[in-house]
């Protein structure tokens, strides 16, 4: 069975392996760290 992870999903899994950043906007930091484009 494959979960159909696309490359962005995969980067997200890898970038949170160590945990979620302890900053007020953790998802923004993940997005910036992984060079995701934030949708505003």
């Amino acid at each position: 069975m494959t979960g159909g992870l696309d490359p962005i999903d995969r980067r997200l899994v890898l970038s949170t392996q160590g945990g979620l950043p302890l900053v007020p906007r953790p998802y923004h930091q993940l997005a910036e760290r992984s060079a995701f484009r934030r949708q505003r």
Partner: protein, 159 residues
Amino acid sequence: MREAIELDTIDRAIIDTLQGGFPICERPYAEVAGGLGIAEADLLRRLQRLLDRRVLTRFGPLFQVERMGGAFVLAAMRVPETDWQRVLAVVNSLPAVAHNYRRESERNSEFNMWFVLAAESEAGIDAAIGQIQQSSGLQVFSFPKLQEYFVEMKLPVRP
């Protein structure tokens, strides 16, 4: 035994609350802190302290690797006492090893090293087993999951 760290009522409430999930929104810590009646900065400081003191080993999402096409397997070995440290180093050096425990039964099971392998694919599990067998010279017994019955892990930490 390591000395237990003192947790106050708020630390306990934080651990209890966060086991139930974590919001996906712009300021998730602020949302959780609001529910606990503390400031966002206080929650962040307390979480950092719990991590620093190893009360928490990690704070973040846990992924179900099988749903992503990956694989987990429980494995065990019969390691002679005289060879323990060498084999331990071999097993722990592999990134696929998620946990490794010494466990012994009073009922004469010869398995004494138990570990969980996690990999991005079934082939990754086979490769890790092959590598451990080759480097240790010992056989690895894998115990693949046949059926999953119940998975839930919430520990109340109220005083």
